[in-house]
């Protein structure tokens, strides 16, 4: 479960970093060196008395995270010469989870750490381990829509860093223009588009099932449509009262997963296509549409990235069309920190319009930020503007994993089996319900 969720949630950094083969390039010592060197520079030049506060910061080792964190530290130290920050990095995925939990349990956590928001936060026992920021001035620039994903038992524990991601269809705009089709507002329009594309000899739907996590997007990305039809689904689902197989709106996601194989929309060899290969197929126009997270464009040069646009998984009602979004990750302050005031200062800086500007310069956005008073520069990627339009229209819903701690670990295998035509939607949904039950039992959740 953890791995599956993390894979999706951190794909912004992970997928991109893997593409550029840089994910493993930064060990904790090497990446912290420039930061501490910068710190000692300021101390020697300022020749200030020993009243300096030293903060520590833990971030994941993704290329784009490290780049952005370094830029933030540099700018912050310039503005606050009495504080130096030393950065450490950690692995992503399940290893990162274990490291974070161990550090918190043994009281060795850095003052500030960057980690997932949503259900992964719940596993950290925030009430014991993390400084409560409810109503704190640290969050004054943070968009209210972010707060639910860092709230635990009614208290707010984190501030955002980075952007939200859209989970839906990334498409090639040139191909759409050439085929004379427009962004579909309903699933029926999507089907009609695909028939036209197929007739024109273009792969309508790109499958990249070698990287199995990508097979989940028709289900996970469909959650906006589920929530529109059943506003209480997340709570009922967590309480073991609603099931995928028996909730028609939720079952749609599995039907949408099975349809490309049944109707021959997929690329040949979808089963062994990787995300990297898929990106090329989409940009070169061999395929038209790809169910994926918007973060995949980060690996592309700007002129290529701007060939691509984004729309949410179409539902059945054009008036309620929207998109499912993955919230930004969060910055947390360890409850054991001895420099909470300085830490709050840094966290607030990163989550301010000025800090966001620095972040965006270091690692250009692949989605909107949730910071009040910050507007994306006009030269942002087109895909970001598409996503921003959904946010502005208040037509977004957070993915289910930000609303419920229940996520079965085998979803990616189940959806891959569906997308390769090995089973049908009904069976797939039932399999997933059983998988979820197993996870809830293993977590010892109440009511299962």
């Amino acid at each position: 479960m953890k791995t599956a969720r993390i894979r999706l949630a951190t794909v912004a950094t992970a997928a991109v970093a893997m593409v550029t083969l840089a994910a493993c390039a930064s060990s904790s010592s090497s990446s912290s060196a420039p930061a501490s060197a910068a710190g000692s520079d300021t101390s020697s030049s300022a020749a200030a008395p020993a009243a300096k506060t030293e903060l520590t910061l833990l971030v994941d080792n993704g290329e784009f995270t490290v780049k952005a964190a370094k830029a933030e530290i540099e700018a912050f130290q310039k503005a606050n010469p009495d504080i130096t920050i030393k950065m450490n990095t950690r692995p992503g995925g399940g290893d990162g989870d274990n490291l974070i939990k161990t550090k918190l349990a043994t009281g060795e956590m850095e003052d500030v750490f960057w980690y997932n928001s949503g259900s992964l936060l719940q596993a950290l026992k925030p009430d014991q381990n993390i400084v409560d920021l409810t109503g704190d001035a640290t969050l004054k620039d943070v968009d209210e829509s972010f707060l639910p994903v860092v709230t635990y038992k009614g208290k707010v524990y984190g501030a955002p860093w980075g952007t939200i991601m859209g989970g839906g269809i990334v498409y090639n705009k040139d191909v759409f223009a050439k085929a004379g089709i427009t962004v579909p507002k309903t699933w029926a329009e999507f089907e009609a588009n695909n028939d036209k594309l197929k007739a024109a000899g273009i792969t309508p739907v790109l499958g990249t099932l070698k990287d199995t996590w990508t097979s989940q997007l028709f289900v996970l990305g469909d959650y906006h449509n589920v929530a529109v039809a059943n506003p209480t689904f997340a709570d009922d689902y967590t309480a073991n009262k609603a099931k995928y197989a028996s909730t028609p709106a939720a079952l749609r996601g599995f039907e949408k997963t099975a349809e490309p194989a049944a109707k021959g929309w997929l690329n040949k060899g979808a089963g062994s296509t990787t995300v990297t290969q898929g990106t090329t197929l989409l940009v070169t126009g061999k395929a038209a549409q790809w169910p994926i997270l918007t973060a995949v464009v980060a690996s592309l040069p700007k002129d290529q990235a701007n060939k691509l646009g984004f729309f949410g998984i179409p539902g059945d009602d054009a008036a309620k069309a929207g998109a499912t979004v993955w919230s930004p990750a969060a910055q947390y302050i360890s409850a054991k920190s001895k420099n909470i005031d300085a830490a709050k200062k840094f966290v607030a800086f990163v989550a301010s319009p000025a800090g966001t500007d620095i972040f965006n310069t270091a690692s250009p956005a692949t989605g909107p930020y949730l910071i009040k008073g910050y507007t994306l520069p006009s030269d942002s990627l087109d895909i970001v503007k598409d996503l921003q339009a959904y946010v502005d229209a208040k037509a977004t819903t957070p993915a289910l994993e930000f609303l419920s701690p229940v996520k079965g670990p085998a979803l990616e295998q189940i959806t891959t089996a569906l997308e390769t035509g090995q089973s049908n939607a009904k069976d797939g949904a039932a399999q997933y319900d059983a998988d979820v039950t197993k996870q809830a039992k293993q977590l010892g959740l109440a009511g299962w």
Binding site: K268, A270, G271, T420, Q442, G444
Partner: protein, 319 residues
Amino acid sequence: MESGPSQARTAGSRGDAGPGGSALTHARTATARKTYLKTYSYWFYAPAGLVYLVVFLVPTVMSFYFAFTRWDLFTAEWIGLDNFSQFFSEQQLVTSLWHTLFYAVFTSGAKVVLGMLFAVVLTSNMRIRGLLRSLVFFPVLVSTVAVGITFGVLFQPDFGLVNTVLSWVGISGPDWLGDPDTALLSVAVVDVWKGVGLATVIYIAGIMSISRDYYEAVDCDGGGAWVKFRHITLPLARPATFTVILLSFIGGLRSFDLIWTMTGGGPGFASDTIASVIYKQYQAGFYGLSTAGNVVLFLLVSAIVFPLAFVLNRREVDL
């Protein structure tokens, strides 16, 4: 250890050198010495034994405990047989069991046939025999993960070498690893490619140990190559056959690394084996459940392999 105290006493009485040194003490000393002589050689096993104890026996015994708990690495809560009932109600268990058996039977069968064939060829009088032997054995030396990744590229449907070569002769090859119908078979074929070298070496040793006299006898009787193979090589290499079957069958039952690097058990569940099912449970953080799965796998392998070894060994004696 037990001889320690009596030895000390012996030393003491010798130090006294008094008249108290009785026959009883003498007898004791003798027994102690005997035990010492009998047991001292075992102490040479101690270092290896200690490593075995700490690294194998203790974890094995502990795993039997953790299999009955809900375990998050920090706390373990006793939940009785829940993990086992969960494991046995696992949706993919039955299919993965069949996959495992198919994989084990296919790979060990192919290794027996091909290994025998290569061994017969490589024990004949050929010029480049040495070179060929090295070539056949070479894949055994390569890391399994490297083999898996390499073949993953070779099997790629669009630009992979396998389908490129097939297209030269007008065959449009399938998506070997991405198609549920061919995925498991493709992995099994690679497993054979990688493992047949070891089988060949075992067979070469087996065939070389057959006395030349038998073959000369066939020559005298006017028999040809087929007679030699059918009536001399095949029956007399039987011990080698049993070794190959046993080794490759155990290897097939618990095969994991190659499957995981090539398909990850997929697409979907199409090449899941018991070992990959267990690994996915571990990945998901279900430590107790995956430990229960490992206990089941341990018992399963034992239940198949011990009777198999018994039967094979008995037939060997019958020979």
